[in-house]
């Protein structure tokens, strides 16, 4: 870990306050898989503002479209839980099917798609009525969930089948299956909906597909001096709003790779905490927060300077992360 010097931050905050234009402060929510809790961090002060208990083994975490709810996969409770994003009070549960791990919301804000790792299914649930709309059979050990910005296509990755399954959200039928490298973990569309990025944990790569015909645009390999190839395990992926940069969490390599999107070249590797799995950008793209499962902390990266600026203690085994819109 680099030695981080957060000393400038209070000065920056004070200066902004004095000028009457406070910095945008977002709430960062981190699920702690082992502690059954969520750590809340202020994105401006970079301090923990609250920690609250949730169901067992919380992993995937997202926001509702209106930003009022945080929606958490509590895997060992075989359910999805909903909490108020402001008060952190429990709101309700949603049926999820067994062992929910990752989920994604349709852009209409109503339909939640949940990967059921143990059942080889994706469950679709209406988050208002709690009605299970359908269960879609997919490959073995489904995990990664991506949805096109227009909501027409859902992508699910299956860890053991090593495939990305493309599902039509109108019919809930799979219309294409693309083989990718071993143990695909995360699938994500770019903002324009033209590309799908898929990370392969054991393959050690990120595959970029053309969304229209599912043909491969490119494949990103990672090499870090002094780090064994097998320790480089890509999982979390995030792209900046302007589509110029992508960040990939590399697991026990303890690095976040910075990718130049137009060329698909790795620009830099940033040393973060141990076993980095997931990451999330603030809505203004100024900061990136990473969950580090083995060092039980969150690393904050300054996106403009591509530097780790602070590590923040979270609960045990931080896993998922999401950031509020305001």
């Amino acid at each position: 870990m680099p030695r981080l010097k957060p000393a400038v931050l209070p000065f920056l905050a004070a200066a902004l306050f004095a000028s009457g234009t406070p910095a945008d402060a977002y709430s960062v929510f981190v699920t702690n898989e082992k502690d059954n809790s969520i750590t809340v961090i202020d994105s401006d002060t970079l301090e923990v503002t609250n920690t609250f208990k949730v169901g067992q083994r919380p992993r995937g975490i997202i926001l509702s479209k209106d930003g009022k709810w945080i929606i958490v996969c509590t895997s060992d409770d075989n359910i999805v839980q909903v909490y108020d994003a402001k008060t952190h009070a429990f709101v309700k549960t949603l049926p999820s099917g067994p062992d929910p791990e990752l989920h994604i919301l349709h852009p209409d804000g109503k339909i939640l798609y949940i990967a059921n790792e143990d059942d080889n299914l994706v469950t679709a649930v209406n988050i208002e009525t709690r009605e299970v709309i359908t269960e879609i059979p997919v490959g073995v050990e489904p995990e990664g969930m991506g949805i096109s910005p227009d909501g027409k296509v859902l992508v699910n990755t299956s860890e053991t089948t090593n495939m990305a399954h493309f599902i039509d959200t109108a019919t809930h039928k799979t219309f294409d299956n693309i083989l990718v490298d071993s143990r695909p973990r995360v699938a994500i569309y770019n903002k324009e909906g033209t590309q799908v990025w898929i990370s392969s944990e054991i393959g050690g790569t990120v595959t970029v597909l053309n969304a229209a015909d599912r043909k491969q645009i490119g494949k990103i390999n990672f090499e870090i001096a002094g780090v064994a190839k097998e320790a480089i395990q890509p999982v979390g992926i995030r792209l900046t709003q302007d589509g110029k940069k992508a960040f990939v969490a590399l697991g026990p390599a303890n690095r976040v790779a910075v990718i130049d999107v137009p060329t698909l070249k790795v620009e830099k590797y940033i040393l973060v905490g141990q076993r980095v799995w997931q990451l999330y950008l603030t809505p203004d793209d100024k900061k990136l927060f990473t969950t580090n499962g083995a060092s039980n902390d969150v690393t904050v990266i300054d996106v403009d300077n591509l530097k780790a600026i602070k590590s923040i203690k979270a609960g045990r085994y931080p896993w998922g992360v999401v950031i509020s819109n305001d």
């Binding site: 870990m1 680099p2 030695r3 898989e33 082992k34 791990e101 790792e117 995990e143 860890e159 143990r183 973990r185 944990e201 054991i202 870090i224 001096a225 002094g226 780090v227 064994a228 190839k229 097998e230 320790a231 395990q233 026990p252 390599a253 303890n254 690095r255 040393l271 905490g273 141990q274 076993r275 499962g293 083995a294 060092s295 045990r316 085994y317």
Partner: protein, 237 residues
């Protein structure tokens, strides 16, 4: 992804189970002894060759590389040589990696070691200490990894034997729940069926140890990372 996790700070039931699992798995191999143990030179890590013998969900990573937890000075061959002949560093590094020692106490020991050093020597000595912690972690890690693989191999052999025994039974390998049987009925079980039931039970009990043991290399890495941060925090360069 099913990543099992655990705490290193508390002596919980799971920690004790881990210790038992580790003991069982390393028993057949050479015991690792701190004092007076021969300390092989550090080897560069290589890609795991036979993943079929690796039963853990997490990918097998053969060694913990300095570059994953250390942004301090490079560990040179000279540094490696130095710590091995430095008794203080040898003893302290063994103490630091022991998961029986609470992390707070280990961090205090690092601080105290740093304080004892002359200003112009501090960073070099702390780098030696890190090299020693990493090297010892990797020595112990190697034993644990091979122990997990040996254990898994024995389980595979046991499974094949159980399958063979099962096919020879009238019910073709259906384990009878003897604990739920009415009194008097148990006597009717054949010796072969009893042996089969016993072997299935032993297999299942042992299988439960595998996920627990799979956590051990991760906990070692976690510990080494925490110690590395503590050492690095005492350095000026």
């Amino acid at each position: 992804m099913k990543y099992a996790v655990g705490s290193i700070r508390r002596f919980s039931a799971s920690t004790l189970a881990m210790a038992a699992a580790l003991a069982a798995m390393t028993a057949a191999g050479s015991a690792f002894s701190a004092e007076g143990a021969s300390e092989p030179a550090a080897e560069p890590s290589t890609v795991a060759k036979d993943t079929n013998e690796w039963p853990c969900v997490s990918r097998k990573v053969l060694s913990l590389d300095a570059a994953t937890i250390w942004d301090g000075p490079d560990i040179s061959a000279e540094t490696e040589k130095k710590w091995r002949s430095d008794e203080k560093v040898r003893k302290l590094s063994q103490y630091l990696i022991s998961r029986r020692v609470p992390l707070e106490e280990a961090e205090a020991a690092v601080k105290s070691f740093a304080k004892e050093q002359a200003d112009d020597q501090r960073d070099a000595r702390l780098t030696e200490l890190f090299a020693a912690v990493l090297s010892r972690t990797n020595d112990e890690r190697k034993l644990v990894l091979s122990g997990i693989e040996r254990f898994h191999k024995r389980q595979v052999a046991r499974a094949k034997e159980i399958e063979r025994e099962g096919l020879a039974l009238p019910g073709q390998g259906e384990a009878l729940p003897t604990d739920a049987m009415p009194a008097g009925e148990i006597d009717k079980i054949s010796n072969e069926q009893e042996l089969y039931n016993w072997n299935v039970r032993v297999f299942q009990e042992r299988q439960k140890n595998i996920p627990i043991a799979c956590e051990i290399p991760q906990l070692m890495d976690e510990r080494a990372g925490a110690i590395a941060r503590s050492i690095r925090g005492e350095m000026k360069s």
